[in-house]
């Protein structure tokens, strides 16, 4: 093989490698973006769930003990600037309170029920997106070439869920 042939071979190899790395970087970007968007969606869904829970207090005929239990839990979840761990704890507590309280209510909770389901679905989508992003980050090529950039690795959101879609059954 003479020099021009070797040169063109090297160029082809470099091009293919470059294309593969670009493609991988695109996938990493896409996965990170999805993890961020699903977090925003989950955050919003949790806030709406807590707001709907607070509205339970306004239901006619609700007893003061129940009202206090629910409003405490919802207010704790709505607290601004919670650390990640405190937020997970507060949202879990709200789930437990709603699990205990909702079946005892005689009034309809048909505004709250879809929000509880939505929060569960959003959490599943978020944790799924985080898992994809993390598995891409673990790849050698991604680590060595720092394709994930400086952004912090996304984290799953761990909390006790309410019913995901079980509420549909009782309708």
């Amino acid at each position: 093989m003479n020099t021009p042939e070797i040169m063109s071979l090297v160029i082809i190899v470099v091009l293919i490698l470059g294309w593969r790395i670009t493609w991988l970087a695109t996938r990493v970007d896409r996965a990170n973006a999805r993890a961020e968007r699903t977090w925003a969606a989950l955050d919003a869904a949790l806030v709406r769930r807590a707001q709907r829970a607070l509205e339970l207090v306004l239901l006619p005929g609700i007893d003061p003990a129940t009202a206090l239990l629910v409003s405490d839990a919802a207010a704790a979840a709505l607290e601004p600037n919670l650390s990640r761990r405190d937020r997970e704890q507060a949202e879990s507590d709200l789930s437990h309170v709603l699990d205990a309280v909702v079946p005892t209510l005689s009034a309809s909770t048909n505004k709250l029920d879809p929000e509880r389901a939505r929060a569960s679905i959003c959490r599943r989508l978020h944790n799924d997106a985080v898992a994809t992003a993390l598995s891409l980050r673990r790849r050698h090529t991604v680590r060595i070439l720092r394709l994930a950039g400086r952004a912090a690795a996304p984290r799953t959101f761990e909390m006790a869920d309410g019913p995901e879609l079980g509420w549909l059954r009782e309708r």
């Binding site: 973006a33 679905i121 989508l125």
Partner: protein
């Protein structure tokens, strides 16, 4: 915050041909019908042609992906599309439809589903129907397939067993939403037919006749054993495919949806002798809705519908898959000790699978997927 419930343009992709009946095809038709009734705009892309006379779908809501090629696949004969021509058709449909969201069924099959997933720019919801592990082909197809799987925004699995496959083999997660049925169609007919039951008991099997995994052989082996104690038993089988049956068995061939409803309503025991890989068991559910006593093999997906094998509360009689003696025992048990309470509970359980519930759940996943979509798509999901 106000609930925005704007009409969604939903592109639904079905990989299997509408020229033949099938569980996925029926599910897609039911979903499209539900979405239309709920005020949305579904558009279905599938191989084959829609039969306008029999279809429950508006003709303008359907686009054909062309003729499909029969391929033996997953133990069945599947009619699938692939190649550049199909890819071009999928591309045209996507451009024309301007969808807010794509709902792709069985995405990891060599078909228009994978092509649509590959080409999709909008948020993608997928439904996994089969519980078939595909890890080896996953490894062989490598990065291309992983990149396609990463494009899924929200996964739906039709049963816990289908979800397990998604988690273990695709490394993704899925919300479990069962297949839907038109509960009233089945339940309504059953009530009318009930008094005629039981003089000559009718046993019914529905499913492809020539596919070993549907287990017709097991039923035919059990037939003589059952007839020792029930000589007047009528055994009726209906489904696609050709297969010789013994003289005591009546084979109806392919039947329409109406015939199926009538047949279920007039029968005394429904047998689901499937051997493996049944991902959901929609006919089992339709039989439950019809109020027919159930005999089914112990497959995970059937247990999902009937309750665990040991539990007192299970909704049908179970037998060991492939064991014709055990099947005969189960059928005799159902015929000799009728349990109307259990049948009524099974019917009640089937009501939860009506499209009114299942469709609401699917829409909840659409809204969640849209709420996490890039800005230009997310507006539709607000609320």
């Amino acid at each position: 915050m106000t609930e925005q419930r704007r009409s969604l343009r939903v592109g639904i992709v079905c990989p299997y041909s509408f020229d033949v009946p099938g569980g996925v095809q029926n599910h897609v038709l039911g979903l499209a019908r539900y979405l239309r009734q709920a005020g949305h705009q579904p558009s279905v892309l599938a191989p084959g042609e829609l039969d306008p006379a029999a279809a429950t779908l508006n003709v303008e809501d359907f686009s054909s992906a062309g003729a499909a090629m029969p391929v033996r696949y997953n133990g069945s004969v599947a009619r699938v599309n692939f190649g550049p021509l199909s890819a071009a058709r999928v591309g045209r449909w996507l451009r024309k439809g301007q969808f807010d969201l794509l709902h792709i069924h069985e995405p990891i099959t060599p078909s228009i589903s994978l092509l649509a997933l590959w080409a999709a720019e909008q948020p993608v919801v997928t439904t996994f129907h089969t519980a078939t592990p595909r890890s080896r082909s996953m490894q062989l197809a490598g990065g291309v397939l992983s990149a396609a799987i990463e494009k899924i925004d929200a996964g739906i699995a039709v049963s816990e067993s289908a979800r397990n496959v998604v988690v273990q083999h695709l490394g993704r997660d899925a919300v479990v939403i069962p297949n839907g049925i038109q509960f009233d169609a089945f339940a309504g007919h059953a009530a009318a037919a009930t008094p005629e039951r039981s003089s000559h008991p009718k046993l019914i099997f529905l499913g492809r006749l020539d596919e070993p995994r549907k287990g017709l052989d097991v039923l035919l082996a059990a037939g003589p054993l059952i007839m020792e104690s029930h000589p007047h038993l009528e055994v009726i089988v209906a489904g696609q495919g050709h297969r010789p049956v013994p003289p005591w068995c009546r084979s109806l061939g392919m039947i329409s949806e109406e015939q199926k409803i009538a047949l279920l309503g007039a029968s005394d025991v429904f047998v689901a002798p499937h051997l493996e890989r049944e991902s959901f068991g929609i006919v089992l559910l339709e039989a439950m809705a019809s109020g027919v006593p159930i005999v089914a093999s112990e497959l995970p997906s059937f247990l999902d519908l009937l309750g665990p094998a040991q539990a007192e509360g299970r909704l049908g009689e179970l037998f060991v898959a492939g064991d014709h003696r055990d099947l005969a025992r189960a059928v005799r048990q159902v015929l000799e000790q009728p349990n109307p309470l259990r049948t009524a509970r099974a019917q009640q359980a089937a009501r939860g699978y009506d499209w009114s519930s299942v469709g609401t759940a699917v829409l909840a996943v659409y809204r969640a997927a849209l709420s996490a979509a890039p800005r230009n798509f997310a507006a539709k999901g607000a609320g």
